[in-house]
């Protein structure tokens, strides 16, 4: 069965929010417990498995925010974004263990390498792209050893040294001794890390055929494959296209060219964000339903399935046949698009899954 997560609503987030539009707003996203808790409860009611809590200097701390919002929910999982290089592995494990105890294990980690060298330097991290992945591998090895709780952890590595590492807390969850680890990124380094340390490789979309080809080694290694994807759904395909075009035109009208994603990409060392930016410049439609029109303004995760509920459900099943089992979704505005998904798309997906199982 496919698993669906949704990106958490940011504090003060407006309809049509893009990275570019956000940069122009004087008010920055602060944690805003009332609307964010309401969003989480709506996700729960709609049958969404969990929310992705982003990380970045522009945002609140995701671990602290998850602790606060997690208490307002009872079933929703918090997929906490995490980067190595910001804290000691023992401290991260201690914080995640504490969170797991507060939320009865409703915690997983979305491990990312960071997309901007400038932002990383603000956190005292001066490593380049591939070194960051190498450090993350060491970081996760230590974290997993601490989660195993099978004796003191001693590691003398290239990036970390730990002597007699142990913690009084453990990861509290039904039938798990550590959180599930999603590994984000499209580069060879990210894929290697997913195979060596991850449970799921989380990537940006492509055509189902391309996704299937890239997924084969992951599935062979026993890893799941997930997609970060946006949705623009409506009662008819025509309406969905109108919404999509309006989103794009609104950005063109209100956001100056220099603030668009190109500037961010020029300073980013993310392989897959850059690649997606190039793809979007060449092709507006990767498949009849998969649209790149908002990448230029909203960033790489804005590659969107556009259509009516049947078309979107069908496209999700196409990805399932390509080896994908999880999705982190988003839309504009987040709550309304999640509601459309939960009420119209998800029942169709489940129906198609049941039909496939019966055959």
């Amino acid at each position: 069965m496919l698993t669906f997560h949704w990106r958490l609503l940011q504090g003060g987030e407006q309809a049509g929010s893009s990275r570019a539009a956000a940069a122009l707003r004087p008010e920055t996203p602060r944690p805003d417990p009332a609307p964010q808790s309401a969003f989480c409860r709506l996700a729960e009611d709609l049958g969404i498995a969990g929310v992705l809590v982003d990380i970045g200097a522009a945002k609140p701390d995701p671990i602290v925010l998850s602790a606060a919002l997690g208490l307002a929910t009872s079933r929703l999982e918090f997929m906490v974004a995490c980067r190595s290089g910001l804290q000691s592995p023992a401290l991260l494990v201690q914080q995640i263990n504490t969170l797991s105890a507060l939320l009865d294990g409703r915690v997983s980690l979305n491990v990312v390498a960071g997309t901007s060298p400038a932002e990383q330097r603000g956190y005292g991290d001066f490593l380049d792209h591939d070194q960051r992945y190498a450090r993350t591998a060491e970081f996760l090895a230590i974290c997993k050893a601490l989660w195993r709780q099978d004796g003191p952890v001693n590691v003398t590595g290239r990036y970390y040294t730990v002597a007699d590492g142990r913690l009084g807390s453990r990861f509290i969850a039904p039938a798990r001794h550590r959180p599930e680890l999603m590994i984000g990124g499209g580069s060879p380094a990210a894929r290697d890390l997913a195979v060596s340390h991850g449970d799921c490789w989380m990537r940006l979309p492509d055509t189902p055929a391309a996704v299937a080809a890239a997924s084969r080694p992951m599935l062979a290694a026993g890893k799941a494959v997930g997609l970060r994807l946006s949705l623009i759904g409506a009662a008819t395909r025509r309406d969905a296209l109108d919404i999509a075009c309006a989103l794009r035109d609104d950005v063109d009208r209100t956001v100056p060219e220099r603030s668009l994603e190109g500037g961010f990409i020029a300073r980013s060392d993310s392989i897959s964000f850059k690649a997606m930016h190039d793809v979007a410049a060449r092709t507006e439609w990767l498949t009849p339903a998969l649209w790149t029109g908002l990448v230029r303004s909203h960033g790489a995760p804005a590659v969107a399935l556009v259509g009516d509920a049947d078309e979107i459900a069908g496209a999700l099943i196409d990805f399932q046949q390509a080896g994908v089992s999880r999705f982190i979704l988003s839309g504009w505005p987040k709550a309304e698009s999640m509601q459309f998904f939960g009420e119209h798309v998800l029942p169709r997906v489940r129906r198609l899954e049941r039909r496939a199982a019966a055959e």
Partner: protein, 353 residues
């Protein structure tokens, strides 16, 4: 300003505070017990609850964030050591908590007890270097809290370039958290002076404390005392309660604390432990009898409500403006504090003004 009263939350949900080895203590927070602890503290007029840090405990910041969401008035004094995270990340976590809780967070900077524990976090500095690094950690954090633009810092222990945090520290009338420094050594005193922090120190007779606090008083700084409380209607009842506490803790605990003392680098803890072996009563109310069994944090004010109110006022004279109490068990002692001690202290304070 009147005396300020805080309480340690480190034994919430643990009736046998400080009698077990740290490796035997559960780091899994009992949320119901913590919420109950916070509610009673709010009712009793306690200002800050200390969330302690250590490898054997839940994470202090995450716990404070969660408890902040289910309480309305109580504030959290979160213990922090440098060397566990980059200051930018730390400031981002603290800022996030401040926004979520209406600014109900302050920081208690501690240096760490032992090299051994620090190494489990990948920290291989010695005790004195840890103080130097904590200074730099605070420098970066304070610069981030004061920043009007990107912050660049190239120091000995930390290097950050163009750090920007969009989530600010938000609290009524403050743009940065209130700071405390835990300890009794010259370095701790210096650090408290340097950062206008309240020195949260360990008990000694008032005249001895006055000497320790001289550099702080000279510059108009603040000081607080961490001390246990065993207050009863009569001195005899209080002494009996203290003896019962000793009997309950038992001999196994003695071994635990002897071995902890052997490893500890904390000047404050070592001094308190050693002194307790010489003398059981440092003043007519300041009792160290439980220290060999329950550790230095078991140094307690023992006596009648009137005795202890007078002792608190004597400390006030010596330069102590705040108290962080512990009790056995905490909540019962906290209610005695609220019903019996606090009214006596407030009345005598008013008479002094």
């Amino acid at each position: 300003m009147g005396l300020r009263f805080h309480w340690s939350m480190s034994a919430a949900g643990d009736p046998d505070r400080a009698t077990k080895a740290r490796s035997q203590v559960s780091g899994i927070p009992d949320m119901d017990a913590h919420v109950e602890f916070c509610r009673v503290a709010e009712q009793c007029g306690v200002e800050y609850l200390l969330t302690a840090c250590g490898f054997h405990r839940p994470d202090a910041l995450v716990l404070a964030a969660a408890l902040g969401m289910v309480t309305a008035r109580i504030k959290f004094l979160v213990a922090v050591r440098s060397g566990l995270f980059n200051p930018t990340v730390f400031a981002q976590q603290v800022n996030t908590i401040s926004v979520l809780t209406g600014g109900r967070i302050a920081l208690n900077l501690v240096n760490g007890h032992s090299d051994q524990e620090q190494r489990c976090y990948g920290d291989f500095l010695g005790r004195d270097q840890r103080y130097a690094r904590s200074d730099e950690f605070l420098d970066v954090c304070r610069a981030l809290w004061a920043a009007r633009g990107p912050l660049t810092h190239h120091g000995r222990y930390f290097r950050v370039e163009n750090a920007v945090l969009n989530t600010p520290f938000l609290a009524p009338g403050r743009s940065a958290p209130e700071l405390y420094v835990g300890g009794a050594s010259a370095q701790a005193v210096q650090q408290a002076c340097r950062y206008d922090a309240c020195l949260l120190t360990t008990p000694a007779p008032p005249e001895e404390l006055a000497a320790r606090l001289a550099p702080i008083r000279a510059r108009g700084g603040r000081a607080g005392l961490i001390v246990g409380l065993i207050a009863r209607p009569t001195r005899a009842a209080a002494v009996a309660a203290a003896e019962q506490l000793l009997a309950r803790a038992g001999g196994a605990a003695r071994v635990v604390h002897r071995s902890f003392r052997a490893q500890s680098q904390s000047a404050a803890f070592a001094a308190a432990f050693d002194q307790s072996l010489d003398r059981e009563w440092l003043t007519p109310t300041l009792w160290t009898g439980a220290v060999p069994v329950m550790g230095p944090s078991a140094t307690a004010l023992v006596g009648s409500y009137d005795d202890i109110a007078a002792a608190l006022l004597a400390y006030r004279q010596a330069g102590i403006g705040e108290f962080l109490f512990l009790g056995w068990p905490d909540l019962e002692e906290m209610m005695r504090f609220a019903n019996e001690l606090s009214p006596r202290v407030r009345e005598q304070e008013a008479a002094l003004c």
